[in-house]
């Protein structure tokens, strides 16, 4: 039953977040300056108001309905399978959870870091780095394979897209050094 309670709590939190996002969206729509509105003509905020209200109402519904959710879930025998792996052991401390999920967190950190730094660091360097880390995270531990594959893939992808499809890929750090 504790997993069900967790499910309901999470639905409540999700509902609250959705409600707040909806209200924030409505607030942003409200702060569009008055002079963009032409009287009698649907302005730039007419459609957003409609969306924001629907979104916020859905969030509010999710926030107040978990009781109903629990009832429905207890009736369905397969409800437990709908829960993710993390919910199976919800009572452990934060540190333990982070430790058990380090792989997931590491992957997202690497992906986000790659997307964040690629334009500045340059495509070849950033891609080489992200490939090395990812091959390793995916269980390839032979270093000569990891490095060889990373270098080869970076070079092939770079040349294909740069020369073949004319995509402007930044050289970043390498470019600066070449210019000096």
């Amino acid at each position: 039953m504790s997993s069900l309670r967790l499910y309901a709590t999470r639905a409540r939190v999700e509902g609250l977040v959705i409600l707040l996002v909806g209200l924030g969206y409505l607030w942003e729509a409200h702060s569009v300056p008055e002079f963009y509105h032409v009287p009698g003509v649907p302005g730039p905020t007419t459609f957003p108001y409609l969306l924001g209200v629907i979104f916020a109402v859905c969030g509010a519904w999710l926030l107040v309905s978990p009781k109903d959710l629990i009832e429905r879930l207890t009736k369905e025998p397969d409800a437990g399978t709908a829960l993710p792996a993390t919910a199976a052991e919800p009572r452990r401390g934060l540190v333990a959870r982070v430790a058990s999920e380090w792989h997931l967190i590491a992957m997202w950190t690497v992906i986000l870091a790659y997307l964040w730094t690629m334009p500045d660091l340059g495509f070849p360097l950033a891609t080489f780095a992200v490939l090395v880390v990812f091959f390793y995270l995916l269980g390839e531990t032979r270093w000569h394979v990891v490095l060889g594959l990373a270098i080869a893939s970076t070079a092939i992808i770079y040349l294909t897209f740069k020369t073949g499809l004319n995509v402007r890929l930044p050289l970043g750090v390498l470019d600066v050094q070449a210019g000096q």
Partner: protein
Amino acid sequence: MLEQLLGGFAIALQPTNILIALSGCLIGTLIGVLPGLGPAATLAMLIPLIFSMSPATALILLTSVYYGAMYGGSTTSILVNIPGESASVITTIDGHKMAMQGRAGPALAIAAIGSFIAGTFSVVMLSLVGKPIATYSLLFGPAEFFALMVFGLCTVASLTGTNVLKSIITTCFGLMIATVGIDLVSGAARFTFGNPFLSDGIDFVVIAIGMFALTEVVVTAREVRSGVRAEIIEPKGIWVKWSEFVYSLPSIGRGTVFGFLVGMLPGAGATLSTFIAYNIEKRLCRNPERLGTGDIRGVACPEAANNAASGASLVPLLTLGLPGGGATAVMLGALMMLDIAPGPLMFEKHGAMLWTLIASMYVGNVLLLVLNWPLVNVFARVMRVPAKYLMPIVLVVSTIGVWGLNYSDVDLVITGAAGVLGYYMRQHKYPIEPLVLGLILGGKMEQAYRQALIISDGSNWIFFEKPIALVLLICAVAFLFLPVILKKSKQFAAARATAEAS
């Protein structure tokens, strides 16, 4: 008319033009395979090339690339569960499951066959009834369009989710993202927080790659690590069996007809047609509970709809000058650069050109089938590359897909955020497809909504006074709440169980 068509064939079958069509199909297929680079982006990249060509050759190149890219998009859906473009999102549901069961070959083959049948059908229809039928789309005013889009979104919401409320939430969120940027009517900057990179709005590719490609990379990586990643069974037969072909033939037929009808409506486009066709298929076919578990009909139907709609979307483009989607919009731009203004007078003014285009579409369909016969084999083998090597490459290529759009840092950051959000949504049963479709349709939907309100002096009753709009809205609500009403029916329980398993 037959004479004109034969004249068109005479030009389309010249050796140079066949060569152009062949390379166009090949380029289109190869680029369509790359996630994020769909038909619209591919066509846009080719525009500088066509200046040096004669108008007929240029048109042949554009249509063959368009066809090739539409087909190529389904390949990645089937093999790596990442739609190459928005119209093949639905194909991932059954296509990828088939690949996991060792049936990648038949899935790719039925996609090629379905595309061929539907493509040929739509070209025949285009040449027969294109002109008279164009008047039919004039019946659709802004109110009807708005209702049509509401209908489309509701069918998607009821199809993809297990919980209607969550589907509505994600659809709505997609529409909200679509409102970011400068309002084209009034010029007001909305939800940009003063960031100039946001004033152009957020391209759906940016979100789609984050939500589909990045999450797929992470989900697969976790499966590889924990050892639950199902080993891909070596494809047994590459080509489709005769019994499977007969089994999926009715689905191809339905997908073709619905795809053509929906695709002909300007603004609806191929994406919407696949969603609607799949949903209708689910209600009409025998054993609907099998759809979603790797059923070959789940590939045949949307792929047929996709290609029928691609052909059909040329009807409003050529007769009304209204593009049905991103790719046809780029084609419209290219046509105008070639000094051909599509519109009601196109059949009179540029008749020869038009028939060449239609003839080249027949040729393109045949070439695509011939080309894909050997390629099915090649693509099915790509599947044998272990995920631990394939997935990091997918990550890098997807990043290039986003970067190549606008060369904007902000796009990359948004993709990352969409990836994290998409991962959470996938883990907690919030469907992603409605969000992406909402984002695609948002701009047009708002435009139609506002135009309708201008016509009615701000009264929302206009959507209930127009008969077509009213019927569409009633159908939309019915689709949305049908699952709730049918909850107790056995058939629905089975369909729901399969949806939950996906």
